[in-house]
């Protein structure tokens, strides 16, 4: 029998209480951290080259995975959608199905998940390693605030990159859907684009997607910079923080997606 199992209910209750209070304290710390990052936002934009550099690292360097994934998702969506629509004789509606699914839901969510894995983990690892190698401490001793110089530009780089990546994901997804639906299966090209043009509105379809991708970008970027900044300055600490970034970001995206979709659904109704 393990030592833990031999403990009474009070032991487990204490552990549960400790975990809950620890979790609440961490959320509080992260909120204060967000406040500090926002406080240093003017610095990130006053020295715009720092933020542009982060947009390059978070956004431009994520393009390949985002565009490739977008195209494959669009192609699969087209195949699956055609099969279902054909049963009801509505296969000409394929364009609208692909576009709406991508713009409203799949592009923000999948691009967000990919962004968390590619850029979020890289941001955490970079900041964590800077901490482990005392680069952040060196900055502080040089009277340079790492929150302003390192954290705020990375946060805003992510927030700005994410909606753009989601938009490109949608565009390439629609193109992938077009290749499969029109070029491969043989749906009428005019019907594909025409239905899409008639059925997809900028407000609320496109704007819903933009809002979602902006919120996901902010959530992933905050989690990434916070986990890096708060990581233990050891190899194990950085590795744990990187894993936590991907796991927490992914769960946050899916949970936030449900909440926002529920609000948007009510609004549309």
């Amino acid at each position: 029998m393990s030592i833990d199992a031999a403990q009474g209910p009070s032991y487990w209750l204490r552990r549960l209480g400790g975990a809950v209070t620890g979790g609440v304290a961490r959320v509080g710390y992260a909120t204060r951290f967000l406040g500090a990052v926002l406080w240093h936002t003017p610095h990130a934009f006053r020295r715009i080259h720092l933020t542009l550099r982060e947009i390059y690292f978070s956004g431009v360097l994520s393009l390949v995975i985002i565009l490739m994934s977008g195209m494959f998702v669009g192609m699969v969506l087209s195949l699956q959608g055609y099969e279902t629509l054909k049963r009801y004789g509505s296969d000409e509606q394929l364009g609208i199905l692909v576009a709406l699914a991508l713009v409203r839901e799949l592009a923000p969510v999948i691009a967000g998940l990919l962004f968390a894995s590619r850029a979020g983990s890289a941001i955490t690892a970079e900041i964590g390693l800077m901490k482990a190698t005392e680069q952040l401490a060196a900055m502080e001793m040089m009277a340079v605030d790492p929150l302003a110089r390192v954290v705020a530009p990375r946060f805003w780089g992510g927030v700005i990159s994410m909606p753009l990546l989601a938009a490109l994901f949608s565009a390439f997804g629609i193109f992938g859907g077009y290749l499969v639906g029109v070029r491969l299966i043989g749906i009428d090209e005019g019907a594909f684009w025409g239905q899409m043009q008639a059925g997809v509105d900028f407000w609320p379809d496109v704007t819903d997607g933009i809002i979602k991708s902006f919120v996901f970008g902010a959530a992933v970027s905050l989690i990434a910079v916070f986990e890096g900044y708060d990581s233990k300055p050891t190899a194990e600490g950085v590795s744990t923080a990187t894993t936590r970034t991907v796991v927490i970001s992914s769960l946050a995206i899916l949970a936030l997606d449900f909440v926002m979709t529920a609000f948007m659904f009510r609004g549309a109704a």
Binding site: E134, M141, A143
Partner: protein, 283 residues
Amino acid sequence: MNPHGSDAATLGGRAGSDTAAVELVDLSFAYDVRPVLEGITMTIPRGKIVAIMGGSGCGKTTILRLIGGALKPKSGSVRVDGQSVPDLGPEALYHLRRRCGMLFQFGALFTDMSVFENIAFPMREHTDLPEELIRDLVLMKLHAVGLRGAAQLMPSELSGGMARRVALARAIALDPMLVMYDEPFAGLDPISLGVIGQLIRRLNDALGITSVVVTHDVYESLKIVDYLYFVSEGRIVAGGTAAEVRQSMMPFVRQFVDGQPDGPVPFHYPAPPYREELFARVD
């Protein structure tokens, strides 16, 4: 040479407290409830090199962090250039730090910047100097540490000794009044060790700065420092000039200087009696 911190009074008396760059008085510090430093009193006169020596984990680096304002003491005072560091607000603390430099144990160079950019970093952050002037200043600092030719290299291309010299050039980039060195000799080959030691002495004298060197390298320190403090278990246990330390018969100092494995600092971690433990019944 008097043990238990009274040497601080000797050194302070010699230098005069009004000329002290750094003054620690009855300083105590604890991480949560674990005490790290107890009743530390020391004076670091302007223009001098003072070493703080002791074994690993004795609280040496914590003293540097307290001087730099990265930590706040539990009790006692820390004064740098007449200012009480724990009482400074963020703005005033950053203002003070602009006049201090710090060399970290492994250099802490920014790995995404070249050697040139690393040294230009504090200048760009804190001054509005034109780019041509920054270039000249960076080259002058690099020349002082013998690495002008390495300006365009990246930190990953430097040896440990070179990285330490670049970090030293960065620490003096803004002509500070105080430079703190955290284990500047750790992990260096004998040539690099000598180079760093001589650079600390030469730059200190040439620029008129004050240096605090935290180290456990007694041999190298004795060659360059004006005064040494020995710290053990969070207390100052001895102090004196290099000559006094060499001649000292204090058991702790002798153990440290001669590198004896056993003495006031025991070889064995506290444990039950050996025989008793060997013959103990294991259930």
